[in-house]
Structure formats: C-alpha cells, structure tokens
C-alpha cells in the first residue's frame, strides 16, 4: 500500500526521424489504496507512463516516488510493484504454480512452505486452485487472465500496475472481470494504476480517471467530474458514449451564433465566455442525452431531420441533420422515431458546454444535478461513490 507520485515525468524515444516525445512533463499523484485509471487513445503515452512507474522504461526527466521512496533509478524488482500485462506474459514453460512462485523465489528469501502457502491463498482467492499444475497453453483466455492476476497478487506489492488486462477477453467475460477486479480491489485495498483505451472501462472501474492525450495529462478527476466537468474539448469528447456533439460558432456578446441557430447564454455563461475566450470561435458541446425531443417551441429549440436510427434496446440513437451539421441524440428504447422524421428538440440552457475554439479549453460546463434515486434504503461503509466523489447531490 503506498501513494505513488509522478513528478514532471518526461519520456523521449529515439525514433527514425528524430526524437518522439511519448510522455510530456506529467505530474500525477495516485493516492494510497486508490484505483486510478490512465485512459486515452492509442499512442497517448498511457502505457509508457505505466512502464515508467514499473521501471521498465527509464524516464528522460522527472521523478517517480512510491511511498516515500524515490524509485526513479531503482530496478523494477526493487520497486515493490507487480504488473499484469495485456498479453498476460505467462511463462509458457512453467506451470501455473511455477508462474506464480517465480517472482517470490527470485525476489524474496521466504521459506518454501511460505511461498507454497501464499500461492495456495492467491489461487483460492481467484478460484484457480485446480489449474495450478497446468501449463498456460492448456488454459482459456479467461483462466490465463486469472493466473496473471494471481502472479501479481502473491507478490503482495505496494502498487498494482495493469496494462489493458481485459482487452484480450471477449465482451461478456470482460464485463464479468470488470466487476470482479473491482471486488478484488476492494478486498485487497491496494493502490492500483490501470491503463485502458476503453472509456467505459475507465468510467466504471476508476476511483479517479487520468485522461491523457499526446503525452500530456488532460484531466484527473472522478468519472463524474470528467463526464460533467471536462477541462477541455478532448476530455469532453473522449469520455462518454456516444460522444459529445460539438458545433462551432461565434460569440456575439449575447449569444453563440451557430449555423442556422442562435443559442442565447445565461448571465454567468456569458461572463465565463467573456473572461475565457481567446479568439473568435466558440465550440458548443452538448451530450446526446441532453438533446431532448419536445412539442414546445422556444429560443433553444431546433428542428432536425432524422437520418439514421440505431436501436440499442435500452435506447435509440438518433443521427440528426441540421444546417449546423450532424448531431447525435438519444431517446428511450420505447420512443419510436423513424428515419426521415422531422423532430423538434431543445438544448437545455444549463445542459451545454462551451469550449474555446482556439485552445479547446472549457469556458463553462453544464451544471450537475445528480440525485439519489428512489429505492436507496441504506449504505454500507463509504462505498457510495455519488457521495465521495465531491459531486453535488440534489
């Protein structure tokens, strides 16, 4: 158990045409016992960041601390970490038992009996006891995944590092493992840094999410913070599925002028735009679920033509056409909209985001209005995320 700190970590690789900057001056603190997810598109530097924590990559600049130890120049084996790889990286020539024992045999002078016991305990925890004498090639993907986890758990490390551990599993197994990993984390309470490119995984698993792009840290926050209060357009469009609609317009001092539509601003929104805008253009962002179909007309209603309807079961995803471009909206699964329908929708005054057209920085975000749903009758411990993530409760 330990806090992990990255302090101005920079990593450059020598590429074919000069140096490639993989991680750019990244500072981040992973709190003790926290499950932090590093998320971003491919090539954003998330895996490299994880590998610098592991010590598999030397940093070009900056420092890495685990607990109160500066481990920047410490070998991987002495960092008190364990890692789960995307490909599992199980030793094919060793049995499951051999795989799980190997790290303890190499790094500790524990007596044989103790190692055996720890392997047995970890195997029990992950329900792989009957697989101990098999070799990895004789296991299914899901079983290999468990063994890879087991190999990390027996080490009892200060920090768990996981590099896209679920991406080789099929969708159903992935969903199962997601909840299982969270349960495991709650049980072990170990600091975990988890890398994924899948924003759903990030949202559902992370205590906090660190969004990376182009080697730079974009935002660190709880899943809800990154969803409702993105610091810039990248985070806003990366987090959430279907992703946020962005329409470019200009600010005329009163409203945002979009092609064929004027979005009037409230006073605080106007002040925020005035204070933050660096150029001419403003980019208005609205999430698909915040485009609400309505009979009424008003200053913020727009008429669209329905291009495509994608039924998902629980919701229908509508691709709507307007002069301002194509936007995506979602309605309930039982709300029948047909291709070609003309629909009128309203963009809620306090449901939109605005980003600086030049820098992409958020000028203002939508207001959060989370509520406790009916049916919540009590709470166990402090597991309740809605209350611990610093969000407003209505």
């Amino acid at each position: 158990m330990a806090e992990t700190t990255l302090d101005g970590v920079t990593k450059r690789f020598a590429g074919d045409d000069g140096e490639v900057l993989a991680v750019d001056d990244l500072s981040l603190t992973v709190r003790d016992g926290e499950f932090l997810v590093l998320v971003g598109p491919s090539g954003c530097g998330k895996s490299t960041t994880l590998r610098t924590i592991a010590g598999l990559e030397a940093v070009s600049a900056g420092a890495v601390h685990i607990g109160d130890r500066d481990v920047t120049d410490v070998k991987p084996k002495d960092r008190d970490i364990a890692m789960v790889f995307q490909s599992y990286a199980l030793y094919p020539q060793k049995t499951v038992r051999g795989n799980m024992r190997f790290g303890l045999e190499m790094t500790t002078d524990l007596p044989d009996a103790e190692i055996t016991e720890r392997v047995a305990d970890a195997a029990e925890l992950l329900d792989i006891t009957e697989l101990l004498d098999r070799r990895p090639a004789a296991l299914s993907g899901g079983q290999q995944q468990r063994v890879a986890l087991g190999r990390a758990i027996v080490r009892d490390p200060a920090v768990f590092l996981m590099d896209e551990p679920l991406s080789n599993l099929d969708a159903k197994l992935r969903a199962e493992m997601r909840t299982e990993l969270q349960a495991l984390h709650d049980q072990l309470g170990a600091t975990t840094v988890y890398v994924t490119h899948d924003q759903t995984e990030a949202m559902t698993m992370g205590d906090r999410i660190a969004v990376l792009d182009g080697g730079r840290l974009q935002q660190v926050g709880t899943p809800m913070e990154t969803y409702y209060e993105p610091t810039n357009e990248f985070v806003a469009t990366f987090v959430g599925s279907p992703s946020m609609n962005i329409v470019e317009g200009t600010f005329d001092g009163e409203a945002i002028q979009l092609p064929g539509f004027e979005f009037p601003l409230a006073d605080d929104q106007r002040e925020a735009v005035e204070a933050g805008l660096t150029g001419e253009t403003v980019r208005l962002g609205v999430r698909p679920e915040d485009i609400v179909l309505t009979d009424e007309t008003g200053p913020r209603t727009v008429e669209f033509e329905t291009l495509v309807v994608e039924p998902m079961g629980n919701e229908n995803v509508l691709h709507l056409d307007h002069e301002m471009g194509e936007v995506v909206a979602t309605v309930g699964g039982n709300q029948r909209v047909r291709k070609g329908d003309r629909v009128r929708a309203t963009l809620g005054a306090d449901r939109v985001h605005a980003f600086d057209g030049t820098t992409g920085e958020a000028l203002f975000n939508r207001t959060r209005d989370e509520q406790r749903p009916p049916g919540v009758v009590g709470a166990r411990g402090t597991d309740d995320r809605a209350e611990t993530d610093g969000g407003e409760t209505g």
Partner: protein
C-alpha cells in the same frame, strides 16, 4: 495409411483416381529413398566383404566377414581418431549453442546503440567463403602456437553467424512482455535469458545443435590443415589418410566410412524425434 489430409468432402478415399495418385506418390518417394540408401548399402557391403573389388561389386554379399573392421582397429589408431572427433564436434557444438544463443539474444532483445548495424555485419559474414579465411586463420593460430592442438582445432569454429541469425530470429519471435515480466519478477538480463527465453528456444537450439554437430563431425578441410600429426586427426582426415596410401584398400576404407557415419546417423535419428516434439511443444497459444 494414406495421408489423412485428403479427408475433405468430395474426395473419395477409394476408386481408381485415388489409388493411382497414391501409388504414384508412394512409388516416387520409394524410389527416392532407394536411390538415397544405395551408397550406404554399397558402403556396408564393401565393408563386410572378404575380397572387395571396389565399384561394381554385387549388391548381395556372397559371404560376410568383419575382417576389415578388425584390420582397421588393429592397424590404425581408430580409438584416438574417434576421441578427437568427439572432442572436436562436441566442443564446437557446445560453444556454438552458448555463444550463438547469447549473441542472438542480445541482437533480438537487448537495446543498445548500433544493434541493427551489428546484426547486418554478422549476417554479411555468412557470405564470405570459408576458403578465403582459411590461410589467415591458420597463420594467426600458428603464431599463437596452436597448430596441432585441440584449441587450434576448435577455436575458429566456436561461433557461427548462421547460428546467431537462427537464434536471433527465434528470440525475436518470442514476446517482449515475457522479458518485462521476468524483470519485474526479479531477473537480471542474464537470468531473463536463461530462465525465461532459453527454454523457449529449444526447437531452434536442437536444430542448431544437430546441424553444428553433423557439419563439424564431417568437417574435412580445417582438421586437415591444422592437424599435422596423425594423433590429432579426426575421422574424415583419417579416412583420407587410409585411402591415400600406395593402393586403396576399399574394404578398409568402407569399414572406416561406416565407423564415421554411424554416430552421425544415431545422433540424427534420435534428434529427429526431438525435432517433432520441439515443434509440437512450441505451438504456444496466445
């Protein structure tokens, strides 16, 4: 049994077309095998004939005798030659397995400046004919005073660019994440090499080992040049010496050839099993 990969719909495992195809296939393979084994048969035949007349002897022995073998072992230091050849081929094989795998691993998995260029340099040396380096190497070794010694026999052959190439390709095909996992599990570079990667390179090691053993066993020109004394001869050189006396005693020569070939055949046949096992073992699932 006819090959089972003909088991697909529409392919009848009977009928004239099937049988003629099968007959053609097996007939061709059979003739090939017969042609290949004829020289061996002739060698054995001559070795056990009482009064061989050389080429053109009958293919069926009139009477068999081991006189040629007795004669060979009585008149020539065959035991010594045998020992020399085993030391020569055995050490060269062991050295090659060691150095080629270390170099191959470094060129495949260890990051260092100029790695690819160094590799190309290694590969380029494959194209240099060994005859070109024969004299310079001999001069070098003679200045070291290693002519007619085991170290002189062995030293120039302890690593082989082809072996390095083979093992580099093998190591390159193994995932780097295994090495990462090994480093986190506490291995240094050398331990990562021999505890994690080397056991996975067994098929390539077996191939290289057999190839090196056989080519070294039958290597003729190098031992001929470096071994000036009969006591340092290896079997192929000795065979040449036996043949090269005033007249050729074919019975004796073929008895000697049999002695040379047998161990190689034994190595090859026992390793063939290992080859197949190695291939099935290396079928790693991702």
């Amino acid at each position: 049994m006819p090959p089972s990969n003909y088991d697909y719909p529409g392919y009848e495992r009977s009928g004239p077309a099937y049988w003629s195809k099968t007959a053609l296939l097996y007939g061709g393979v059979g003739i090939g095998a017969l042609l290949w084994s004829l020289p061996f048969w002739w060698m054995l035949l001559t070795a056990v004939s009482a009064n061989p007349t050389g080429a053109g002897s009958s293919l069926i022995p009139a009477e068999t005798t081991f006189a040629n073998f007795e004669d060979l072992f009585a008149t020539q230091p065959v035991g010594r030659w045998f020992f020399n050849t085993i030391v020569f081929a055995g050490s060269v094989t062991l050295f090659n397995l060691t150095f080629d795998s270390l170099a191959g691993y470094a060129l495949a998995k260890v990051e260092f400046v100029g790695r690819e260029k160094l590799f190309l340099l290694f590969v380029a040396t494959i194209m240099v004919p060994s005859m070109v380096t024969l004299i310079p190497v001999f001069i070098l070794l003679s200045e070291l005073g290693w002519v007619n010694t085991y170290q002189g026999l062995i030293a120039p052959l302890i690593a082989n660019p082809l072996g390095i190439f083979l093992l580099r390709q093998q190591f390159k095909s193994l995932p780097s994440s295994l090495g990462d996992a090994a480093k986190i599990d506490g291995c240094n570079e050398l331990q990562t090499f021999y505890k994690v990667y080397l056991p996975l390179a067994k098929p390539a090691l077996a191939t290289l080992g057999i190839y090196t053993f056989v080519t070294t066993w039958k290597n003729f020109e190098w031992p001929l040049i470096i071994a000036s004394d009969e006591s340092m001869y290896t079997l192929p050189v000795a065979l040449f010496a036996v043949r090269n006396q005033y007249f050729t005693e074919w019975g004796l020569v073929m008895a000697a050839a049999t002695v040379i070939v047998l161990p190689v055949l034994v190595v090859f046949m026992s390793a063939q099993k290992y080859f197949i096992r190695g291939m099935t073992l290396s079928g790693m699932k991702g």
